[in-house]
Amino acid sequence: MSEHTLNPKAEAATYLKTLISLLILTAITVAASYVNFGAMNVVVALTIATIKATLVALFFMHLLHDKPVNGLIACAGFLFLGLFLMFTLLDFDSRENPQPFNLHPQVAAPPPAAAPATTPAPAPEHH
């Protein structure tokens, strides 16, 4: 364990700097949310979020000075999430009108059995 034990004071300073950077980035992302970038809103917000997440992973979760295998596992998690997202989006784009399953038809559909009985004979008009 001792191989990655740096000077404790230097480490504490790094953690404080990381926290301050994270708080500044939070302020930036909140401020940016009041500006309308149109379609770029999502991109701006998620880019800042990813920078923040990287800071947390590298410094607070020690990935920067840790054994590479831990970083590899973390990257693999996000890689598979990316694959999942990619194939789901491909599938989504090829469908029409995908619904959340439990909210299906709230449309007032006429009761199928009663419908023909109430509208009887006045059919032949233009034939």
């Binding site: 364990m1 994270l22 999502v42 992973a57 831990n70 598979f80 999430l81 909210l103």
Partner: protein
């Protein structure tokens, strides 16, 4: 630091480590030395964290798809979330991550009192987070901004797109994701309390602080997930 293969050759019983951690009561005999034991635990924790990323990832993907499906209704539903409260909770969680990492550093440098204080501060921040969340949830409940068919904000006139209510879908995801995250915070509080009690007993030192480190990793992951939840729910309109 000699390599583990050399250690095994020198000492088939797996206790040879040049005096490092030789007498440690936490040293389990199937590990070559304390460092290998620590690294092994850590790999296990990272594997668990990877599954956590995938657990929340599924929900994030679902949220993204439904946002693409009901852009207008999701945009309007976003307006019901209070940005200052979300920002406050973000700041609280970031600070708690910092107190946590300082706690790990304290454990590693044999500062027992500091460790306990930092852990208690982390728990305090977690409680503030949950308090704000409770305030937000009760507000949503009063306004009928609820998941699925419990949604009653628009009374009887439910605005639908192709027969589906996008607002209710939004709040289904909102409660599912922030709720699951909240459960993680609750679990975190329990773990932090457990670590604080053990730390107070003086069970951790520079040679053995694995539980502190692993709970720290878990706590940072919970923070990391919130870092994505916050902009997606509160900021993007």
């Amino acid at each position: 630091m000699s390599t583990s293969t050399v250690d095994l050759q020198q000492d088939p019983h797996g206790h040879g480590d040049g005096g490092h951690g030789h007498d440690d009561p936490h040293h389990q005999h199937h590990f070559t030395n304390m460092e290998q034991q620590f690294d092994t635990s850590k790999i296990g924790m990272w594997l668990f964290l990877a599954t956590e990323v995938l657990l929340f990832g599924g929900l994030f993907v679902g949220f993204g798809l439904m946002q693409a499906r009901f852009p207008q209704q999701f945009k309007e539903a976003h307006e019901h979330l209070q940005r200052p409260l979300g920002a406050l909770n973000t700041v609280v969680l970031l600070i708690s991550s910092w107190t946590m990492v300082m706690g790990v550093l304290s454990a590693r440098t044999n500062q027992r009192k500091k460790l306990v204080v930092y852990l208690l501060l982390t728990i305090f921040c977690a409680c503030i987070f949950l308090g704000v969340k409770y305030f937000e949830y009760s507000h949503k409940y009063e306004e009928g901004l609820l998941p699925g068919h419990y949604y009653s904000h628009h009374g009887d006139k439910i605005p639908t797109v192709d027969g589906a209510n996008g607002y209710a879908t939004f709040f289904s995801f909102y409660f599912m994701m922030t709720g699951l995250h909240g459960i993680h915070i609750l679990v975190g509080i329990i773990l932090l309390a457990w670590i604080a009690v053990r730390g107070n007993r003086g069970e951790f030192n520079s040679n053995y602080y694995t539980p502190v480190d692993l709970v720290g990793l878990y706590w940072h992951l919970v923070d990391l997930i919130w870092i994505y939840l916050f902009p997606l729910y509160y900021l993007i309109t």
